[in-house]
Symmetry: C2
Subunit: 204 residues, 2 copies
């Protein structure tokens, strides 16, 4: 679905020299391309073409192609975060350890449902995200992990270790399942088995 060219003031779909909302459209096209073909297929020229625009136009909105890809990655993180928050709403009131598991399952589910998009998510962030205040998975985990601390005395080292265990095991599991375990049933068994044990490690 190539984004239609549209001028800001023009109501119709008439082609005009100026696109009107190119930046958004580029990220949209990048997301679609990443979903369909993975990192290999995400290319400045192809994204531009999908928007019906020349490649050089991209550089009016992003300092480099890597910044555009970073924006697509950020978009993917936001999609993931949305699902996490939705799951957390449903799990409100349940113990912290259960909610941590919910977050982990969300992370892994996204990785397995959209493996190519996920490969963007797990790229090291070369470019700082535009908005610092958007839903952040790390902060989310931290908030829940803090509830595991005894009231009044927060052990920062313990908090950090628990956060790291939660994030590491979820990320590692997602990657390994994606790359080496194609069978959905085997995946489900392993997710359950590993997260059970991570739960034990988190409460230790």
């Amino acid at each position: 679905m190539a984004t239609e060219r549209r001028a800001v003031t023009t109501g119709g779909g008439r082609r005009s020299y100026h696109h009107g909302a190119l930046r958004e459209a580029l990220v949209d096209a990048g997301e679609a391309l990443a979903r369909a073909e993975g990192l290999e297929g995400v290319t400045v020229r192809r994204i531009a073409a999908a928007c019906g625009v020349s490649a050089a136009a991209v550089y009016r909105h992003f300092p480099s192609g890597d910044h555009l890809i970073a924006a697509v990655a950020q978009r993917a993180r936001e999609i993931m975060a949305r699902d996490m928050f939705a799951r957390l709403d449903s799990a409100a009131g349940r113990p912290p350890i259960d909610r941590l598991r919910e977050v982990g399952e969300s992370y892994i589910a996204f990785a397995l449902a959209e493996p190519r998009l996920f490969s963007l998510v797990s790229m090291p962030m070369t470019t700082p995200p535009d908005r610092i205040d958007d839903p952040n998975a790390a902060d989310l985990v931290r908030d829940i992990v803090l509830e595991l601390e005894p009231p009044g005395e927060i052990d920062e080292a313990r908090v950090a270790a628990r956060m790291m265990l939660a994030q590491s095991s979820a990320h590692g599991l997602a990657v390994i399942l994606r790359d080496f375990v194609p069978d959905p049933q085997a995946r489900a068994m392993l997710i359950a088995g590993v997260l059970d044990r991570v739960g034990v490690g988190l409460e230790a």
Copy 2:
């Protein structure tokens, strides 16, 4: 260090039309390039140039550039495996859980010491390795995990879950530390803290 061109029968360093051991040399050059510049710098043409050979020569030894990169990745895995076996020799006789930790520490140490080479290791294997019978980290972990099973009754699901927990947490921790925790002291604290908890989860 560009590999010197040498003929099979010629003793001296004299340049000859045929290289003599190009395949090895290409992997060597790829490894050096990966160490120095990471995946971005690992390019068919640059590897060939480092060997003093035209780019097309590569295709006499590898069906594609990706296969060459896969060979470099396999090389890196072997380097990692060597360190693991060395550590395991030193830890012979100690309980399985300690040896698993040794393997995990080796994995993480390599990732942090050679972050760029490690990014090849953790690439999904597009090409099956040439030799199936070489030292394999997964088999290594499996052998140790099997020792945790009660004698006589092996629960395959439990074995799989323990293997997965060990591998996932080590890989995830390595990646996250590499990308987001530059400080060596913080890294050491987190490694210890997380691996302690993984140990608890493994024995559960």
